[in-house]
């Protein structure tokens, strides 16, 4: 049986703690039996009681301590219970963790991973449903990583913890935790690049009617639409990077986008000034794409409500995606 997104992350944490005694996990309510708000750290404290630290409710302190640990040779993995609390982490990350290696000419390294769940769709309301990763894009020295349901989230987390010398903000999407990572046979998938690969998924062997660029939590909705659209003879290619803080390699355009004149870039953030706008900019910087029309679809420019009907009205849903796709290719 195939793993879920959550199980893949759980296993990765067990794996890295077993493999490297310098890995320390710290965060709020992560000790068993509770095992963390979303259970990603479940079972860890039972196996490694000395290296799993429950912290007070101070996100700034969690990342501050983690930065110190990282400077002194540990590999801390900090859990921030909700991505919305990243505002409290921003100073430690931006003004300390990301700067040290650059300020001290690489005489120190900060191999720190901050894990946090983002996104809405769960009825958690305006302060527990945001996608704040856009605030952390464009910070020198910080890698922002976000696995989709098409990625192997455990492998990305393992790579972030064991291979990356600098700080990584590892964004998990709440809506993906319960999903199995097994893809239906109708979806053909390849990856490009190692470490933090780009996934390219097609729902047909035919030339795509539309290329969709997205990442993270919205991959669930796109997957649903792709499956449904197979029967409707609408051929969709989905391109999902896992590293958001750097634009993709230009070869992705020449290999996978150039053949199509309809492109949709979408995420569940508020409109503008984020991954979507930067990706559109990247597309237009490559002259080859000029004959394609690039469309965008994002959440509404407002807070995420708690009631499901209102949440659906604000966020990108499979229905809205499908409607956009049909409008674009009609």
């Amino acid at each position: 049986m195939s793993l879920s997104y959550l199980e893949s992350l759980q296993q990765a944490l067990h794996h890295v703690m077993k493999q490297d005694p310098n890995v320390i996990v710290l965060g709020e309510d992560i000790i068993d039996p509770y095992g963390g708000a979303f259970k990603v750290t479940k079972g860890l404290s039972t196996h490694y009681p000395q290296r799993v630290l429950a912290t007070p409710i101070s996100e700034s302190a969690i990342v501050g301590i983690s930065t110190g640990l990282a400077v002194r040779g540990f590999k801390p993995v900090a859990e921030i219970m909700f991505g919305d609390f990243m505002a409290l982490v921003a100073d430690q990350l931006l003004n300390s963790a990301c700067k040290f290696a650059l300020m001290y000419q690489d005489k120190v390294s900060v191999p720190l991973v901050v894990r946090t769940p983002m996104g809405g769709g769960r009825g958690y309301g305006p302060t527990h449903s945001q996608c704040l990763e856009k605030m952390f894009l464009g910070i020198p020295g910080l890698k922002v990583v976000c696995p989709s349901v098409f990625h192997d989230p455990g492998a990305l987390l393992t790579h972030s913890i064991l291979q990356e010398a600098g700080p990584v903000l590892f964004v998990e999407y709440k809506n993906l935790y319960g999903l199995t990572l097994q893809r239906p046979d109708t979806i053909r998938m390849k990856t490009s690049g190692s470490g933090f690969p780009v996934v390219i998924a097609d729902n047909s062997d035919a030339v795509p009617d539309i290329v969709i660029l997205s990442y993270g939590g919205l991959s669930e909705a796109v997957l649903q639409v792709m499956q449904r659209m197979t029967e409707e003879e609408i051929h969709i290619r989905l391109i999902l990077p896992s590293l958001l803080s750097t634009t993709m390699d230009a070869s992705i355009i020449t290999k996978y986008i150039n053949s199509c004149t309809k492109v949709l870039v979408t995420d569940n953030n508020t409109p503008g000034f984020g991954w979507v706008s930067e990706t559109v900019n990247w597309l237009y910087q490559h002259s080859d794409i000029h004959n394609a029309k690039v469309h965008t679809l994002t959440a509404q420019d407002t807070v995420v409500p708690a009631a499901q009907v209102l949440e659906d009205a604000v966020l990108v849903t499979p229905q809205k995606l499908e409607q956009s796709i049909i409008e674009i290719i009609s």
């Binding site: 769709g121 009825g123 409707e232 003879e233 609408i234 499901q308």
Partner: protein, 376 residues
């Protein structure tokens, strides 16, 4: 009547729930509003009520995991002897009605294509009697909007030429074909291997007819054939007869400048080249090779397998047999009869009948000498 109780919407966080326990036994009578069971999600407990009064039946046991919209139980207005069957049928009927909702007359791609082309896809679905695919729309559009002639989709008759490379027969036939949009010379079959791979006015020489002709016909690469050589008229006849017996279809190649007047009967396999005139009420057999500028006046009767050099002129009512060879520039008086297998040399004026198997030779001498320019 059977009332179906399904797992309701469980909230944003859960798509399934644990059935904690039934509060009723299968077959028990229940009142409307009575609690039947409790479902537990990650956040809360739900009561499931009887929506109507009647006899309660279920096949799910306590602690089962149940999904949203799954059939939990049924309530019947009368006691059921075999409730297992009824529940199974209910589950089946529910899943069928879900499927029926999803049934479409056309795919969305087909709809998009139809809309782009202002095509009534509903009508197309009724016409086909099945779900319309994108390809159906494309086929329909191709069928209804195609105007083959305007697009140049014209079927040309494809011609194979047998022999005649060295003597130039193939060349003058291809030259005549190239002036006619309805014909297309495809290949020349010649037994001389030295010519294979060459092209005559763009038409490839492909090897002997014995080796290749049947394959070209079988592959549907040519429609009709014509014989290009005319030196050996016996061989021309034998080739024509043998291939005709094999069912190989022959055609006439007639240059567009040819004048064929009223009531002319023309066989097949004939080559009739530039500016030939065939007068009214003449008959021409099969497999003749009539080159440029030949005039056959009214009422002529020409047999088969004959060859004419350029500019042969016959008067009215001349009869010519089979396998007769005319050289160039010959005049034939009216009413003359020329027998089979005769040969007439260039420049002859035929004033009397020629019996079969005869040769007409002229007895004049041609003097060629250097011009004397000394006396102007």
């Amino acid at each position: 009547m059977i009332t179906v109780i399904k797992v309701p919407f469980l909230g944003a966080n859960d798509k399934s729930a644990r059935l904690v326990s039934w509060l009723k036994e299968p077959g028990e009578q229940v009142c409307a509003g009575e609690v039947l069971c409790q479902l537990e999600t990650t956040k809360t407990l739900f009561d499931i009520d009887a929506v109507t009064a009647g006899y309660f039946y279920t096949e799910l046991s306590n602690q089962s995991e149940v999904a949203e919209q799954e059939v939990l139980a049924i309530i019947s207005d009368a006691p059921l002897a075999d409730y297992h069957n009824v529940i199974q049928q209910t589950v089946k009927a529910e899943s069928k009605s879900d499927e029926a909702e999803g049934q479409q007359l056309f795919t969305q791609k087909a709809e998009i294509l139809a809309n782009r082309n202002k095509l009534d896809i509903g009508a197309l679905a009724r016409e086909l009697g099945r779900k319309v695919q994108a390809q159906d729309v494309k086929d329909y559009l191709a069928r209804t909007t195609m105007q083959p002639l305007r697009m140049g989709f014209v079927q040309r008759e494809r011609i194979g030429i047998i022999g005649g490379v060295s003597g130039g027969g193939a060349l003058i036939i291809i030259d005549a074909i190239l002036r006619q949009p309805k014909l297309q010379a495809v290949a020349v079959f010649d037994q001389n291997p030295a010519f294979v791979g060459q092209e005559i006015l763009g038409v490839p020489v492909v090897g002997s007819a014995d080796d290749h002709l049947q394959q070209y016909l079988a592959d549907n690469k040519i429609d009709k054939v014509i014989i290009g050589f005319n030196r050996n008229l016996e061989q021309r006849e034998q080739t024509f007869t043998r291939l005709s017996e094999q069912g190989v279809p022959f055609c006439n190649i007639i240059d567009p400048t040819v004048e064929i007047r009223n009531q002319v009967k023309l066989g097949t396999g004939n080559v009739v080249l530039s500016n030939v005139y065939i007068g009214p009420c003449s008959e021409v057999g099969d497999n003749n090779f009539i080159t440029a500028g030949t005039h056959l006046e009214h009422g002529n009767k020409l047999g088969s397998h004959c060859a004419f050099g350029p500019s042969v002129s016959t008067s009215g009512n001349v009869s010519i047999g089979d396998r007769v060879r005319f050289a160039a520039g010959i005049v034939v008086e009216p009413g003359i009869e020329i027998g089979n297998d005769t040969v007439i040399s260039s420049g002859a004026v035929i004033v009397s009948n020629v019996a079969e198997n005869h040769v007409v030779k002229l007895s004049y001498t041609q003097q060629i000498k250097v011009r004397d320019l000394s006396n102007n």
